[in-house]
Symmetry: C2
Subunit: 151 residues, 2 copies
DNA sequence: TATTGTTATACTCTATAACTATA
DNA sequence: TATAGTTATAGAGTATAACAATA
C-alpha cells in the first residue's frame, strides 16, 4: 500500500510520515482553530456558534440537536441555556407533542449565525487559495465522498 | 468561480451547497468525533490524548507545548497536572535553565500514546476506504498543501 | 411504560490576573 | 527587567443519575 507510506520531502531530511490520517488530524486542527478564532471575535464559543448554525433553517427540537451535536441531552440543556440567556435563541413548546421544545434563532442570533458563517467560509476558502480550481474541485469531491454517511 | 458554486446531487433535490469550506467543516467534525471516541475508549479526553501524542519523540518544555497546543500556560499547567496525576507523564527540571520544566511520557503514557495513535490512524484511513489509491494520494498531497505553514 | 427535557453533581477545559522563581 | 511556570478564580462544556411532565 504505497499510499500510506512515508513520503520523503527533502533529500536527506528525516521528516515524519505525512500520510492521509496524519493530514486529516492536522487539517481538523486547523479548521477547529479557525472556527474557534472567529467565534471568539463575536464573543461566542465554538459550540455556541455551531449551535446557531444548526438553526438557520428554522426551529429544531432539543432531541434532534442532541443527536446532531453528539451531546447528552443534559449537556445540550446547558448550552441552550447560555445562548438563550444571551438572547440569541428562544425555546418554543410544540403544540402537537407538549414534551417537545423547539429551539429557534432570535433576530440577533440569526445575525450572528450569518456573520460567523460568512467569515468561516471566507477563511477556509483562503486555506486553499493557491490550489488551482480543478484540483480544488477534486479535493471537494473527495472530501464529500469521505464524509458521506457520517451524519 | 465555478468551483465554489452549489453542486446538484440529485435531479429535483434542493440540496444545500457543498463547497470546499462546508466540506472542511464536516470533515473536521468527523475527525474530531473519531478522536474523541477513541480517547474515551482509553478513558482519556481528546486534549489528554493530543498531549500524549506531542511527547512521543521525547521530553518537551511547557512553553513549547503551550505554543503547539494554542493553550495559555495556566491552561497547560492544569492539563499536565491531570495526566501527571494519572501517572502518564512526569515533569523534569531543566539543568541548563532552571526555570524550564520538560514533560515526558511514563511507560504507561507511552503505551497509551501508541495505542491511541494506532487506533486513530486505522479509523481515519478507513474513512477513505473506498477511494482508489491514486485519488487518495492526491487527496493527501492537497491536504498537505493546505496545512503547510499553519503550525 | 417510554420519551422529552431539566436538575443536581462532579469533573475537565480554558482564560485572566496575580504571583514565585530563575535568568 | 524579562521569561517560565504556578495559583486563584471564574465560567464554559460535558457526562451520569435522578427527576418531572407528557405521550
Amino acid at each position: 500500500m504505497t499510499h500510506t507510506e512515508a513520503v520523503p520531502t527533502e533529500a536527506g531530511t528525516a521528516e515524519p510520515e505525512f500520510g492521509l490520517a496524519v493530514g486529516l488530524v492536522r487539517l481538523a486542527g486547523v479548521v477547529q482553530h479557525v472556527f474557534g478564532e472567529i467565534s471568539r471575535e463575536y464573543d461566542l464559543t465554538s459550540q455556541q456558534t455551531q449551535l446557531l448554525c444548526m438553526l438557520v433553517n428554522g426551529p429544531v427540537p432539543m432531541a434532534t440537536l442532541s443527536r446532531l451535536l453528539h451531546l447528552e441531552k443534559s449537556s445540550l440543556t446547558g448550552l441552550v441555556d447560555r445562548v438563550e440567556r444571551r438572547g440569541l435563541v428562544r425555546r418554543q413548546r410544540c403544540a402537537q407533542d407538549r414534551r417537545v421544545w423547539r429551539v429557534s434563532l432570535t433576530d440577533e442570533g440569526e445575525r450572528l449565525g450569518n456573520d460567523t458563517h460568512r467569515d468561516t467560509i471566507d477563511r477556509l476558502e483562503k486555506l486553499a487559495g493557491d490550489i488551482p480550481a480543478n484540483d480544488r474541485d477534486q479535493l471537494t469531491a473527495l472530501i464529500a465522498r469521505m464524509v458521506r454517511g457520517t451524519g
